[in-house]
C-alpha cells in the first residue's frame, strides 16, 4: 500500500473523514455536517466499545438460557426457531 505517511496533508485527512462519515451509519443519520476527524474517531471507538458490551451481555444471556433449558426442549426450540425465521 502507499507509504506516504510523510505527506498526509489536510486534504487526505478530510477525505478520510468524509469517507468514514459515509461508512458509519449512525453518523449519517445524525447529519453532522463536517465533524472533525478526531471527534469521528472517538465516536467510532465508543461505538465499537458499546457494541462489544452488547455482545458480551448477550453472551451472558444466551449462556444463562442454555443452562436453564433441558437439552431436548432446547434443541427442539433451536431447530424450530431456524425454520420459523
Amino acid at each position: 500500500m502507499s507509504n506516504r505517511r510523510s505527506r498526509v496533508s489536510e486534504e487526505e485527512i478530510n477525505r478520510l473523514v468524509s469517507k468514514l462519515q459515509s461508512l458509519l451509519p449512525e453518523t449519517r443519520q445524525r447529519g453532522a455536517g463536517r465533524a472533525s476527524a478526531a471527534k469521528l474517531l472517538k465516536e467510532t471507538c465508543n461505538y465499537i466499545r458499546s457494541l462489544n458490551r452488547d455482545v458480551d451481555d448477550l453472551s451472558d444471556r444466551l449462556s444463562a438460557i442454555m443452562a436453564t433449558m433441558d437439552s431436548s426442549s432446547a434443541e427442539a426450540e433451536m431447530v424450530r426457531s431456524l425454520l420459523r425465521s
Binding site: K19, L24, V55
Partner: protein
Amino acid sequence: MAISNAEGDPATGNEGGGERKRKRRADPPVAKWRTEGEQKTYSSKLIEAIRRVRRSSAAAATDHSRSRAVRAAADRALAVAGRGRTRWSRAILSGRKLKLWVRARACRRKPLGSITAASSSHTTPKSKPPTLERKARVLGRLVPGCRKLPLLTLLEEASDYIAALEMQVRAMSAIAEILSAAGAATAEPM
C-alpha cells in the same frame, strides 16, 4: 424482526467501468452485513456453535466461563461469515497467537517512543496532529488485528467490523428472544 433488505450487490464495490486500479482485495461491501440472508446464515451457524458449547461444557463450568465460550463461538462464527476478506476476521480466526506474534515483532523493532523522537529530526515531518494519531491508535487496538495499519485501511476495517458487530447483536438478540420465550412457555404449568 424485519431487516430492510439492502441486498449486497457484488458490483457495487467498484465505481466506474472496468478500471481495475485497486486489487481484488478492495473495499469489502459493508451492505452485506445488513442482508437478511447473511443474518440467517450467521444465526444457524451460531446456534450450532452454542449447541457444541452446551455439550462440551462441564457441569462445573461457571456462568462466566460459559459466557466467554459463547462469546468466543459467536466471534468465530462472525469471522467465518467475513469469508477471510478482512483483516479483523482473519485475526479472529487465527486467534490470540496473531496478537502475540505482532507484539513480539513490534518489540524487536524500534519502540514507538523512539520513532517519534527520531522522526522530528528526520526529514519526514509528522503532518498528522498527535491527537489524531492517538485516537487512530486506540481504534487500531479495538479492531482485531489492526494495530499497525495506515489510517485509510484502518477505517475500512473498522467500518466492516462495526457492520458485522451490529449483525451479531441483531442475531444474538433474536435468538435470545426466541429461546427465552420458549423457555417461559415450557416452564408454565399446564
